[in-house]
Amino acid sequence: MGKAIALIQASWRTQRSYRVSIVLSILSLGVTVLPVYFVSKALQPYAAASIANQGGNYFGFLVIGFIALIFVSTTVSSIPDAVGTGIGTGTLEALLSTRASIPSLLAGMVGYSFLWTAVKAVLFLALAMVLGMHLSIAASLSGIFILVLIVLAHIPFALIAASLVLAFRTTGQIPSIVMIASGLLGGVYWSMSAKIIPPWVHAIANWVPLAPGLRALRQTLLNGASLGSVMPDVMLLVGFIVMLNAIGFLAFVEALRYARRTGTLAQY
């Protein structure tokens, strides 16, 4: 744990030195929230019926969708990005030469990205609440728990993409594919209720981990539902986590072995 924290601290110190980037990143949140607010207000009459069981307010619906999506984006891109950069600069070899274990190195390499995403999410949420979004504060712990499950369910995709970077210097477009699928079929912009979308699209959407995750997240944060009442969706997420993480970690370990066999840990 201490090793991962040391790496996160190093990332923070590095990022902190890029002051303009930090300021612009925070300012961009405001720029994003305002269009979402006005567009959602305009679309509220059309969307209200379809999202009635998920808060009923299209602005809140979209904000929760965006927050989940930026966590998915961070998850699927930060690990392959960190591995790719590490290979390119030689830091990966230097890190792998230390006594730190691979899980702690991975956690440390991407930990800062997650913390920064969390900070941005809180600011985004705060701005949205200033603009009138209603959030069930009592259910926020459940919401955080579901958000963590959403992240964990997407880590395998990141690990597979990172494995491809280790072995073949490409992500195989996995982060892009996951982002497109999550955006279109995960329920970020519209309800994925079987009553609204075609059955075959609904069937496909069931295989997108963000879909049950977002359903549960909105139920808790916007409707104040308990964790018990969203248990089917939570269990579906846990299923994804159990099933996919084993594959992801196996792929990463094998890719690392392949890179060690071919001597390409420091050749981009």
């Binding site: 201490g2 090793k3 230097a94 792998l96 730190a100 001597g263």
Partner: protein, 365 residues
């Protein structure tokens, strides 16, 4: 003239390898390589891949390397570019897996006990890009001290100590991006030292240092790392100064083959080609030509003159005993000799000779 004879042929490279292994028996070994081989896939063109999709050609990088380095030894690894030195180092650092053979560091296997190997060994094989350029020197070392498992006040104390050792205390709070190449090189070394390794791998550590810094660094390696800390050091270098000043033994690699191991002096002697300079008034004296004709000495080369004395260089085998017999014979024959001295073989020549001999002795294919 009787009693002067051309000595026997020098031992083969393989025999020298075996001898070097035997010589170090009895000592505690910090590093042992047994039958280590490694090959890498050959990058092919699109055309070649389409023509022969199932072929997976590989290029051998290390071939059946047997080598042992004793605890506390300062060991030099020499050889031309592409000889396999860096691959060998990466293998010891657990960053590259061997295809065949076993390698142990501090008694731990580099494949099955890689975590334990990393607890006793620190490599300096990465280049300066592997540093965190936006962090200060202190922060870089602090990070790696923590990654090596240090905690609390021990981190601060060790980082300060190492910064002092590499002469970066005054610039500890400066970001690495503002460092010169030499300073970055010193920081890389400091990063390896922070974990107090028992075995240190240095791949051309002085390549970015100016001559004065390089000399200071060599003194630091000799006195601090090897002397006080008793660290085993494996040094890959092209610098003759480093080898002659630091290494107790060297190994010569070429195209993945270990051609020879031993001290530079013993290698020069074993190769049977020691060079001597003779200062005489008459370089064309028939006694000199007669020695060459009988094969007692190698070809003579006249290399200028000093105050009217001509400098004649010759290759002689058989060591001092044989050299004294040659001098006695020449004096007896009336050759006026002002000076007769051994010319140290330049490192580059030594490597070149070992490589040439190895190439000639290598099996076809």
């Amino acid at each position: 003239m009787s009693g002067i004879a051309a000595p026997d042929d020098a031992p083969t490279a393989a025999a020298m390898n075996d001898a070097s292994l035997a010589a170090s028996d009895g000592a505690t070994h910090a590093v042992v390589l047994e039958g280590i081989s490694k090959s890498f896939p050959v990058r092919r063109t699109w055309g070649e891949m389409l023509r022969h999709p199932l072929l997976t050609p590989r290029a051998p990088v290390l071939r059946n390397i047997n080598l042992s380095v004793a605890e506390g030894e300062f060991f030099g690894l020499l050889g031309p570019n592409g000889a396999g030195k860096t691959t060998l180092f990466k293998m010891l650092a657990t960053l590259v897996l061997p295809d065949a053979g076993t390698a142990t560091v501090g008694g731990f296997d580099v494949v099955t006990e890689s975590q334990k190997v990393r607890s006793v060994l620190a490599p300096v094989i990465a280049d300066e890009r592997s540093l965190y350029w936006r962090l200060t020197a202190y922060q870089n070392l602090e990070l790696f001290a923590k990654l090596q498992g240090m905690k609390g006040a021990a981190v601060q104390a060790r980082v300060k100590e190492v910064l002092d050792v590499v002469g970066l205390s005054d610039t500890a709070e400066k970001i690495v991006a503002a460092f010169s190449s030499g300073m970055k090189q010193r920081l890389l070394i400091a990063r390896a030292l922070v974990a107090q390794p028992r075995v240190l791998l240095l791949d051309e550590p002085t390549r970015s240092l100016d001559p004065i810094s390089a000399r200071g660094f060599r003194a630091f390696l000799r006195e601090e790392i090897s002397g006080r800390q008793g660290c085993t050091v494996l040094l890959a270098t092209h610098s003759a100064d480093e080898v002659l000043e630091l290494c107790t033994r060297v190994a010569v690699l070429d195209h993945g083959r270990l051609l020879a191991t031993g001290t530079t002096t013993s290698l020069a002697r074993d190769l049977g080609e020691e060079r001597y300079a003779l200062f005489t008034r008459d370089a064309t004296h028939p006694a000199l030509a007669a020695l060459v004709q009988r094969g007692v000495v190698g070809a003579l080369t006249v290399r200028g003159s000093e105050d009217g004395w001509e400098r004649v260089e010759m290759e002689l085998t058989g060591g001092m005993e044989h050299a004294s017999q040659v001098v006695a014979t020449l004096v007896e024959q009336g050759v006026v000799i002002a000076r007769f001295e051994r010319v140290p073989l330049p490192l580059a020549d030594l490597i070149d000779r070992i490589v040439r001999r190895g190439t000639e002795g290598a099996p076809n294919g």
